[in-house]
């Protein structure tokens, strides 16, 4: 395959979430249709492939980060380069759900952007009988944040493509918004600032 004249648009996605919630599993399932049974803590993995998003060829770059607290210090550096975030927790583990709050805050701090493309993802939906995080609680938090909530299963591949594509669409639309000159952006900025003020 010859190098295309024009590099397709690159969307950088970052997987965040506590350890063992299935970030790598989701990534590998999306990338290679493969479900990895054995658990091996990730440090930082990088994936990139071409996909067709709504008829347009784009590149998705996935940075799969470490969930363990040991690596919390270096997260900032990674988060800085991300354009969209999949914040993953396991519906069978309440701690992981609680941790999402922390991740959300760190991302907002690093990106300094209320409207950064962000999806709250409840993984392991195939283990419904072990559910610890009620759907209502998860959706409640998502609405509070103003982000979509999707439940996935890396094992059954349920909604796996959906979360990645939805996020890419958001990233794309954000980029188009940013590139647009004029008031819309300024409006956004003011909005962002406004929100920031709320938090502060």
């Amino acid at each position: 395959m010859k190098k295309p004249n024009q590099q397709p648009a690159l969307h950088k996605v970052i997987m965040v979430g506590s350890g063992g919630v299935g970030k790598s599993a989701l990534t590998l399932q999306f990338m290679y249709d493969e479900f990895v049974e054995d658990y091996e803590p990730t440090k930082a993995d990088s994936y990139r492939k071409r996909v067709v998003l709504d008829g347009e060829e784009v590149q998705i770059d996935i940075l799969d980060t470490a969930g363990q607290e040991d690596y919390a210090a270096i997260r900032d550096n990674y988060f800085r380069s991300g354009e969209g975030f999949l914040c993953v927790f396991s519906i069978t583990e309440d701690d992981s759900f609680q941790a999402t709050q922390e991740f959300r805050e760190q991302i907002l701090r690093v990106k300094n952007d209320e409207n950064i493309p962000f999806l709250l993802v409840g993984n392991k939906s195939d283990l419904g009988e072990k559910r610890k995080v009620p759907l209502s609680e998860a959706t409640g938090r998502a609405t509070q944040w103003g982000v979509p909530y999707v439940e996935t299963s890396a094992k059954t591949r349920a909604n796996v493509d959906k979360v990645f594509y939805d996020l890419m669409r958001e990233i794309r639309s954000r980029k188009m918004e940013d590139n647009k000159p004029g008031n819309s952006r300024g409006k956004d900025k003011s909005k962002r600032k406004k929100l920031k003020c709320v938090i502060l």
Partner: protein, 911 residues
């Protein structure tokens, strides 16, 4: 060419050298061997690459530093591309640092022991600011640094060193105060170093000057050399070497030329030698052939063919033709020798090998085999012919000379005296054939084996196996056929006439006298057979011989038994009538013992030679037919003995002129016994045929009894001892025959004895014109009574003298007859008795009755009663008294005689 590999994922995306990196993507090789290359950050990692699937490879990162592509190369897809990058960085690892990477300890330790000085502290990169950055995990992204300081570097030794980069890279997390302290430290260090350099030179100025001097001196010397030797000092050396080479060549030229000459001479000599060899070859061949050294001839021949086989020179060709003709002769000779009389196996093998080496056409080995087979057959046939003619001459001679002695020779003694001369030709034939087979056949067979195992270096023609088997079978069949024709012609009845004739027809007369030799023949045959068995022949072949042996054993057994039967039948000629007593069974002659001996001998022989199964032979008696035959033979044999007894007792020979007429007794009734014995003696003298017929009858009776009671059980014991099946059938039959014979002989004896006895009663009763009507008062029993008793006693003694047991079989019968006669006489008188006659008659009858009471039977008693009935009743007591008186008188006077009729204890046979 498949699609090129593409790497789309890496885990982790950065790490120090040796990080275990999982590379993911597509088309990363169809199999592990398809993967031909893997570089991470420009470092070849193929060695550590572990191919998992076309989507996954696990490898360890190399020492590359910085960001780099991950490139996979496959045989099927070529060099691939990568969408992700791996960043290698070098971690500084101190003793305090936790590391995910395995630190190689071995080199470290080596350094430790090898040369001191590289302590861990010096090994560590010193931070120029003197601040430890250990434990600081956070790293400033390199991308950012590149953006911030384009073209810069954090490396202290780099030309493009950018202090900002360095600080951000190393100390972006260091507090400001620490940085200030670090700056002070750095300053101090720099000052110290400057100071240090100067002081170093100062303190060592002496040696520095010395070194400078030395350098100057060196330069001086070098320039001097250049002046002396010129710019290039090797020219002279080269010239010297060239010169020495020339000298050396000159030195060796001589030697080399001499060697060349020597070589030439040698090759010329070799050529001469070769020619001499060629020209001398015909003679040498002839000589060697004469010596029988065929190997040498073949060697020479092979050599000459090698040297001159393709020659074009006419002279050589001529000589070669000569050689060829010699060799052809040799071939002829060898072939001839091969087909000639068979030599030893080894010699034959050697001949065959020679022939093969001489490239004789055809198949010499096979020729040898078939020739051997032919020879074997011829030998056997010749052997047969020799002995056949020998027997014929013998028979013809036998016809001229007294033949009887020869044909009777089987059992007569003259066999022993000149048996050497009279060994039947057939026996000799058997021995010779068995020898032939055991000597020649193994060679033949081994030759065949050698042929098929390739020992003879001959290509085996397919189908030869079958032919060889046929030859072997034919040889053995011939062997078996010849022997059958000679020994057992009857087993060949079913074979086709032509085949039958080929085995030779022997005169049936020659069969006589063969019997005793059969076991011998069997032994010879078995020897041959055992030698065959050792050869590991196919079972078909062995079976032929086995069946021959089996038949011979059967034949031998039947012959043995027949012989025994015959000798038993001939026993009557040996009867000597010598009575021997043994305690239990009374007197017997030696015949039963003879019979037993013959039977025992026959069984012993049979057991020794026939019945015992040898190697690879079936026990004879397993076959039902054989067992039946054996039964018949034994029955025949034993019946033979019965016949002998019969002949002895009742044969016409025995009876001739030996009847005792009644008249003799009438004439001399009182000396009945004496006259009888006198007569007997006279006859004995006349004819010398032993005792009187009656005595012989008694002897036979006794023998029969003995045979029944003793001999047959003993023979049964014999069978048991020789482990033969119990012959209950034949023994029972013999028993029956014996019983019947016994009855007949007894009858004959009784008839013989009772006739005269009874016949004398009437004449003796009326002797002296006695009349029952006119009798006087009886004073004693009448003489006829006494005579009668005396006669009975004589019979009693005769029987008792031979076999006491017989008395009980004989006397009661006689008593019955006597009583019957007495009754008849009394009835005939029709009561013509006067008073005294009546008394007399009563007394007589009572006396007889009393005397023989022991042997009386109910029938006899009835007759006595009848006799008394015929006599008128005694009317008065006076008469009875008279009778009593007479009886008393009789008892006292005849006491001795009467005692004879008492029952002697123990003689009564309960049966």
């Amino acid at each position: 060419m498949g699609p090129p590999p593409i790497v789309t994922g890496v885990s982790p995306k950065e790490g120090p050298p040796g990080t275990r990196v999982t590379v993911r993507g597509e088309f990363l090789g169809k199999t592990a061997s398809d993967l031909s290359g893997l570089t991470i950050c420009g470092c070849d990692c193929l060695l550590s690459a572990e191919w998992k699937s076309p989507n996954k490879i696990i490898a360890r990162s190399g020492p590359g530093k910085g960001k780099g592509e991950i490139l996979v190369t496959t045989r099927s897809g070529g060099r691939g591309t990568s969408t992700v990058e791996f960043r290698g960085y070098h971690e500084m690892i101190g003793p305090m640092k936790e590391s995910a990477v395995w630190v190689e300890e071995a080199p470290l330790r080596k350094m430790w022991w090898g040369r001191r000085g590289l302590t861990p502290t010096t090994y560590q990169h010193d931070d120029p600011l003197g601040i430890s950055i250990e434990g600081v995990e956070q790293k400033f992204p390199e991308d950012g640094l590149h953006k911030l300081f384009p073209g810069g570097s954090g490396d202290l030794s780099s030309e493009n060193f950018a202090a900002g980069w360095f600080l951000l890279e190393r100390h972006h997390a260091t507090p400001f105060d620490d940085l200030r302290a670090g700056l002070a430290f750095l300053r101090r260090k720099v000052d110290g170093q400057k100071e240090g350099q100067l002081s170093f030179i100062k303190s060592n100025v002496g040696s520095v000057m010395e070194q400078l001097d030395t350098l100057a001196h060196l330069k001086e010397r070098f320039e001097e050399d250049v002046e002396k030797q010129g710019q290039d000092p090797t020219i002279r050396l080269e010239a010297a070497i060239k010169e020495s080479m020339l000298e050396a060549n000159k030195l060796f030229e001589d030697v080399l030329s001499r060697r060349e000459r020597a070589d030439a001479t040698r090759s010329a000599l070799a050529v001469l030698q070769r020619f001499r060899f060629l020209f001398g070859l015909p003679g040498a061949i002839e000589k060697n052939i004469k010596k029988g050294d065929y190997d040498a001839v073949i060697n020479d021949y092979a050599r000459v063919m090698n040297l001159f086989g393709n020659t074009e020179v006419p002279v050589f060709k001529k000589v070669l033709a000569e050689v060829e003709s010699r060799i052809a002769q040799l071939r002829e000779l060898l072939h001839h020798r091969l087909e000639d009389a068979p030599t030893t196996l080894e010699a034959q093998k050697k001949l065959i090998r020679n022939l093969v080496n001489l490239e004789v056409g055809g198949d010499p080995a096979w020729d040898a085999i078939s020739c051997h087979s032919r020879h074997l057959a011829a030998t056997m046939i010749q052997c047969r012919d020799t002995h056949l003619t020998q027997e014929q001459t013998a028979l013809e001679e036998g016809g001229k000379t007294p033949k009887s002695s020869k044909s009777k020779g089987a059992s007569s003694s003259n066999q022993n005296t000149d048996w050497q001369a009279s060994v039947p030709a057939r026996v000799l034939l058997t021995e010779e054939l068995a020898d032939t087979i055991s000597e020649r056949f193994p060679d033949f067979w081994k030759l065949g084996q050698a042929y098929f195992t390739g020992e003879l270096q001959v290509k085996v023609v397919p189908g030869r196996q079958q032919d060889f088997k046929k030859l072997v079978l034919a040889g053995i069949s011939l062997f078996s056929g010849l022997l059958r024709a000679a020994l057992m012609p009857h087993t060949l009845v079913k074979t086709p006439a032509a085949e039958r004739a080929s085995y030779g027809v022997w005169h049936s007369r020659g069969m006589e006298g063969l019997g005793p030799w059969l076991p011998h023949c069997l032994r010879a045959l078995r020897q041959g057979y055992s030698s065959l068995i050792r050869l590991d022949l196919p079972s078909e072949v062995l079976d032929i011989v086995a069946s021959l042996i089996f038949d011979l054993r059967v034949h031998c057994m039947s012959t043995l038994m027949k012989q025994a039967g015959e000798s038993i039948r001939n026993l009557h000629t040996q009867e000597s009538w010598n009575i021997q007593f043994d305690g239990e069974h009374g007197g017997i002659t030696h015949l039963p013992a003879e019979c037993e001996r013959v039977v025992a001998e026959a069984l012993q022989l049979a057991k020794d030679s026939v019945l015992l199964a040898d190697l690879r032979e079936t026990p004879l008696l397993e076959s039902n037919v054989v067992q039946r035959d054996l039964n018949n033979l034994i029955l025949n044999m034993l019946l033979g003995f019965v016949e002998v007894l019969d002949k002895l007792a009742l044969g016409s020979d025995a009876m001739a002129g030996d009847s005792l007429g009644a008249s003799q007794m009438i004439g001399s009734p009182s000396i009945f016994r004496g006259s009888d014995s006198v007569m007997d003696k006279g006859r004995n003298k006349d004819k010398e045929t032993g005792p009187a017929w009656e005595q012989r009858l008694l002897s036979v009776l006794s023998n029969i009894e003995y045979t029944k009671c003793v001999l047959l059980p003993r023979i049964a014991d014999l069978f048991a001892r020789y482990q033969l099946p119990a012959q209950t059938g034949p023994l029972a039959a013999v028993n029956k025959a014996l019983a019947e014979l016994d009855q007949r002989v007894l009858d004959a004896y009784l008839e013989q004895r009772s006739d005269p006895l009874v016949g004398t009663i009437e004449p003796s009763m009326y002797i002296g014109n006695f009349n029952w009507d006119t009798a006087v008062k009886p004073a004693d029993v009448r003489p006829y009574v006494k005579e009668l008793l005396t006669n009975l006693i004589s019979v009693h003694s005769e029987v008792h003298s031979i076999s006491p047991g017989l008395v009980w079989r004989v006397l009661p019968q006689l008593v019955e007859t006597v009583a019957e006669e007495l009754a008849r006489l009394m009835v005939c008188l029709d009561r013509k008795f006067n008073v005294h006659g009546t008394e007399q008659a009563c007394a007589d009858i009572a006396a007889i009755r009393e005397a023989v009471q022991v042997y009386s039977t109910p029938t006899a008693e009835a007759f006595f009663d009848e006799a008394l009935e015929a006599v008128p009743r005694l009317s008065d007591t006076q008469g009875k008294k008279n009778v009593e008186t007479v009886l008393n008188h009789f008892r006292s006077r005849m006491r001795l005689q009467l005692m004879c009729f008492r029952d002697p204890k123990g003689t009564r046979n309960p049966s």
